[in-house]
């Protein structure tokens, strides 16, 4: 009996190992490329040199303003994620704690609207923001602020639902106790709901941030000068059609971009998995 059990376990390790090779192979290859020679042609499966030339290119070559892209992405995605989650939090609080006319209709309406993602109306968004650009260049196409504003259009979506569901689990008795003590709705929100929801908000914000970091379509339509590119637009423009020549610097850039996200992800893994089971999809 004992022997049979051992026999049955080894294949599990085998399957998992094969999957592991599949999932890690590209990652290892990229790490090797980042510290290897610049071209794709000269890279070997196991790097035989260890140089930092590729990182040097990213930090010094004026044609590849990688640090600017990094900063742009940080600014755009962080501010948009904070604003998105704030807006969603306010709305979720209203839907969770207030009873008002049209509440159910609004909730259903929001749900239906989610089926029409912004991606489907990019033509309309582009034309709208181009017209805005003609009058107010600071917030139209070509501007990062315009891009952030467009991102905020998606704030009242899935996150509002997720957070409303979470707020619903916070006992109402807490609010009522605060009310008895003379707290306003604003105070109840900041002193009671927010502290209890902080971990949840952190995860939602991280997922929003990753989703925004991944946006290529809107960012590429809005940001059309190299200096203003985000990482997604910049790295795509940098590498497309140039794999043979620029593979090394690109791999270095990919590594620098992915590393912070992977580390954050591992820290928040438990919460993210819980969020996933609730039905969240990576944006």
């Amino acid at each position: 009996m004992k022997k049979r059990n051992r026999d049955k376990v080894w294949w599990r390790y085998l399957v998992a190992s094969i999957a592991l090779i599949f999932s890690l192979m590209p990652v290892i290859w990229v790490i090797g490329a980042a510290f290897g020679p610049a071209g794709l042609t000269t890279q070997s499966v196991i790097p035989h040199v260890f140089v930092l030339d590729n990182f040097k290119v990213l930090f010094t070559d004026e044609n590849v303003p990688f640090l600017k892209w990094y900063r742009n992405s940080l600014i755009v995605c962080t501010s948009a994620a904070i604003l998105q989650v704030s807006i969603a939090t306010f709305a979720a609080y209203a839907f969770s704690r207030f009873r008002f006319k049209g509440r159910r209709v609004s909730l259903v309406g929001l749900l239906v609207l989610q089926m029409f993602p912004q991606l489907l109306s990019i033509v309309a968004i582009y034309i709208l923001m181009y017209k805005v650009h003609l009058v107010f260049p600071a917030i139209g196409t070509g501007s990062a602020i315009g891009l952030i504003l467009v991102y905020l259009g998606g704030a009242m979506g899935y996150n509002t639902y997720l957070l409303k569901g979470f707020f619903d689990t916070i006992p109402k008795e807490l609010d009522e106790a605060a009310k008895v003590d003379g707290a306003t709705a604003g105070q109840t929100f900041t002193k009671i709901i927010l502290p209890l929801a902080t971990p949840m908000l952190a995860v939602v914000m991280l997922l929003s941030f990753i989703g925004l970091l991944n946006d290529f379509v809107l960012a590429s339509l809005f940001l059309q000068t190299t200096d203003k590119y985000t990482l997604a637009v910049g790295l795509q423009a940098f590498i497309s059609g140039q794999y043979e020549q620029q593979w090394g610097p690109f791999a270095a850039g990919a590594l620098l971009t992915a590393l912070p996200v992977i580390i954050l992800f591992q820290f928040l893994q438990r919460y993210i998995v819980e969020g996933l089971s609730a039905g969240s999809v990576k944006g």
Partner: protein, 497 residues
């Protein structure tokens, strides 16, 4: 209400009002009325709601609602409206503007007409040409309104000649090319270079009474059809203008030979891509979940952390990296396999590649959610079945799998909807290519959303907004029907309390 919250509120409202006033002023100066009225109304509404002492939900909902209306609802409506127009490059202006353009373009030099050399001059904002006849004679000054004789061969007092640099600025060039100086005989003078002008006459004229364009030589009206005028010989005049076309964009998808072919090819591939993506990621994810979700496997947490690394990497990066791995000459895949497969340059292999990359990107998600679903199945059920003599196989197929599918169904449908519009997964890997046919906008791996994007922004044939928005609407109906099915099953709507 305490002092702090009142101060905060006042600060917030003054910022909103100041911004809105500044914007309103700008809109007022350019006489853009509709946005101005909406802006003032919205500002008034915000002031009203936030100054009102009553506690209500709208205070909390306003910020999101504003952005929702501007960047979701309005674009959806605009999309729906545009789908019924012929809006595209060449059909982007109003009829009046198109007629204006046509009148300017359709001119011809008069035989033995006057020829002039000119100097462009200006007096403050007023611009004019100082014209000297090529065959000698008195100079004249001409602008949009007409010509004035000048009894002097020098530029009149006060007027200043444009410098060469000024002449090259876009504003001046635009003015110079558009300038038609009417002459007494009905013809007009037009610049044909930076220094010379010739006498032109109109080939067409606008008859305001009939509201039609007339061919001057024959006096016949020009045919007008589908947002374009046609020359008497039947060739189309450009530009045309924006018109309502009813359901044409939608019916074209079915009946127009040139659009139907690529559209159905793309539609079928979109379904195949979405369904196969869900299936492959689900099967691999579930297999791994079943493999590792066993108490005898050591280090489950480590395995899990390592296996979900693809999920933690920003998707756009992974896809761009994969494009390098699949490089046919030097990529890892061909080197590791010792092959020379054109992963991204052959129609079939490119399709395989998009699915392979999507499998890599998506299986960790399925692995995570399947693990969660498996762990939520009560162990008693399998134990009871085993007690009754069911084999492991039967326990899996009759008990675990059905329960698993019930939990997973909404997630699978969500994943289908996501992949149906997975723009990045296609566009960043293959750019929709390889090209199928030189005349097609759609490449072999284009899905509907990337096809739409190309029609609107990068087809090389100009922007086809009308058709692109019509396809957006079609995508919406497909995804909405599938999602509606899922809502019905999961009864998500009933839980909205």
């Amino acid at each position: 209400m305490n002092l702090k919250s009142i101060t905060m509120r006042l600060l917030f409202l003054s910022a909103v009002n100041a911004t809105s006033l500044w914007a309103a002023y700008t809109l007022f100066t350019i006489e853009n009325w509709a946005p101005l009225i909406i802006l003032l109304f919205a500002t008034f509404l915000i002031d009203f709601i936030y100054f009102s002492p009553r506690t209500n939900a709208s205070k909390w909902l306003i910020p999101g609602t504003i952005f929702l209306i501007i960047f979701q609802i309005y674009p959806v409506m605009y999309t729906a409206v545009t789908a019924f127009t012929n809006y595209s490059t060449g059909h982007s202006v109003s009829r009046e503007e198109a007629i204006d353009g046509l009148l300017k373009q359709n001119v011809e030099p008069v035989e033995n007409g006057d020829q002039y050399s000119f100097i462009a001059i200006h007096l403050g904002e007023r611009k004019a040409l100082f014209l000297t006849p090529a065959n000698g004679g008195d100079s004249i000054i001409g602008d949009e309104k007409g010509v004035k004789s000048s009894n002097n061969s020098a530029i009149p007092d006060g007027w200043v000649q444009f410098s060469n640099e000024e002449l090259k600025t876009p504003d001046i060039q635009k003015w110079l090319t558009a300038l038609q100086i009417p002459l007494a005989n009905g013809n007009f003078l037009q610049a044909d270079s930076f220094t010379t002008a010739i006498e032109n006459r109109s080939l067409i004229k606008f008859d305001a009474e009939k509201n039609q364009l007339i061919d001057v030589a024959s006096g016949e009206s020009l045919k007008e059809k589908g947002g374009n005028f046609y020359y008497l010989d039947g060739t189309r005049m450009e530009p045309g203008w924006k018109i309502w076309v009813g359901f044409t964009n939608f019916t074209d998808v079915v009946s127009n030979e040139r659009i139907r072919g690529p559209f159905f090819r793309v539609l079928i591939w979109t379904f195949a891509y979405a369904i196969l993506s869900v299936l492959t990621t689900f099967i691999l994810g579930l297999t791994l979940a079943l493999t590792l979700n066993n108490s005898r496997v050591k280090g489950q947490r480590v395995w899990r952390s390592l296996l979900i690394i693809p999920y933690a990497i920003p998707g756009f990066l992974s896809i761009l990296v994969w494009a390098g791995l699949l490089n046919d000459d030097y990529g890892l895949m061909n080197r590791a396999l010792g092959t020379h497969i054109p992963w991204l340059f052959d129609a079939t292999w490119a399709k395989v590649s998009t699915l392979l990359v999507n499998l890599w990107l998506g299986f960790p998600y399925m692995f995570l959610v399947s693990t969660g679903a498996l762990q939520s199945i009560p162990a008693e059920l399998s134990e009871a079945a085993q007690m009754d003599g069911a084999s492991n196989k039967v326990v899996f197929s009759r008990i675990k799998l059905p329960l698993l599918l019930v939990t997973m169904a909404p997630l699978l449908i969500g994943s289908f909807a996501y992949n149906f519009n997975n723009f990045g997964g296609i566009y960043l890997l293959t750019g929709g290519g390889p090209a199928q046919n030189d005349s097609d906008v759609a490449g072999a791996t284009d899905i509907l959303i990337s096809y739409t994007y190309k029609l609107a922004f990068s087809s090389g044939k100009g922007a086809q907004y009308g058709l692109a928005t019509a396809i957006s609407i079609i995508i919406f109906f497909i995804v909405a029907s599938v999602s509606a099915l899922s809502f019905k099953r999961t009864k998500a709507l009933e839980n909205l309390n």
